[in-house]
């Protein structure tokens, strides 16, 4: 009897369902046997009980499940509201703001060099750029969100090729910017 001669009519739905259950049972059996072999080997090779020590140590390092505390029992947002004193400018800065502030303050990090390069480029191109740069600095120092870097990038593209600043070409969302820009007329 060739296999190709057989069709679905050989197995009706109940038989198919029974076959499905048999296949499932086989798979579960495989999983159980796999576990047995794994455990047996671990026992014979001596590494099955490696994660257990004396009762006291086990208690010491038990997983902690309390609110406000991580699984080691440490408080994890303890330093959120602390303030640090910057060694460079001696200002008191919030801990979460400290790293970006230090980056700008010490003149290191990606954006500081970008700003510096921009300053160099624009001081070569524009005459009135000097006073404006200081305004840029102050504003950058006070606002450490990513929004300020976006504004800084926009300014760079505006200053690009030829024309000096015209208020109509400035697309800043924040009205603060238009106040600091002297009228180029």
């Amino acid at each position: 009897m060739k296999m190709e001669d057989m069709s679905l009519s050989g197995l009706d739905n109940t038989k198919l369902e029974a076959l499905a259950h048999d296949i499932y049972a086989d798979l579960v059996e495989d999983a159980c046997l796999g576990l047995c072999f794994e455990v047996h080997r671990a026992v014979k090779q001596g590494y099955f009980f490696l994660d257990e020590t004396d009762q006291d140590s086990m208690k010491d390092f038990e997983i902690v499940d309390q609110p406000g505390v991580d699984i080691f029992g440490q408080v994890y947002n303890q330093w959120k509201n602390k303030e640090c004193v910057c060694p460079n400018c001696n200002r008191s800065i919030a801990a979460s703001r400290f790293a970006p502030h230090l980056e700008k303050c010490l003149g290191m990090g990606r954006n500081s060099s970008r700003i510096a390069n921009r300053r160099i480029a624009s001081s070569n191109n524009m005459s009135k750029s000097e006073s404006d740069q200081e305004d840029n600095d102050d504003i950058n120092d006070n606002d450490w969100s990513y929004g300020s870097e976006k504004k800084a990038k926009k300014r760079k593209s505006d200053k690009n090729p030829n024309s000096p600043r015209r208020s109509k070409s400035l697309k800043h969302k924040n009205g603060m910017w238009s106040e600091t820009i002297p009228d180029g007329n």
């Binding site: 057989m6 999983a31 046997l33 796999g34 576990l35 009980f49």
Partner: protein, 106 residues
């Protein structure tokens, strides 16, 4: 006797069908995939950890110098079968049925 002979022929047709399907299951790699799926699900739901804890009891009882594979199989397998969560069983049966629906027409 004629009836019994007919029964036997039909039975062997059925068992040949089953063998053919099982062979397809293996050859197409689906059985291996199902095996991996089951293993992953059983770990995820904590089944493996549960049974491992049970193993520890068996081993302590039999003494771990002397415990054999047969000991473990006898103690673990029935419990293992019973502890599979319904959701896992459902999902696997669904996939198996889908395979059978697609491939049982030869």
């Amino acid at each position: 006797m004629h009836g019994n002979a007919m029964k036997r022929v039909n039975m062997s047709k059925e068992s040949q069908m089953r063998a053919a399907i099982n062979q397809k299951l293996i050859e197409m790699g689906e059985r291996e995939r199902l095996k991996e799926l089951l293993r992953a699900k059983l770990i995820e739901c904590g089944w493996k950890d549960q049974l491992k804890a049970h193993c520890k009891d068996v081993i302590r009882e039999k003494g771990f110098e002397h415990v054999t594979v047969e000991d473990l199989v006898a103690e673990i397998t029935p419990k293992g079968r019973a502890l599979v969560p319904d959701s896992v069983k459902k999902e696997l049966l669904q996939r198996i049925r889908a395979f059978l629906a697609q491939h049982s027409a030869l």
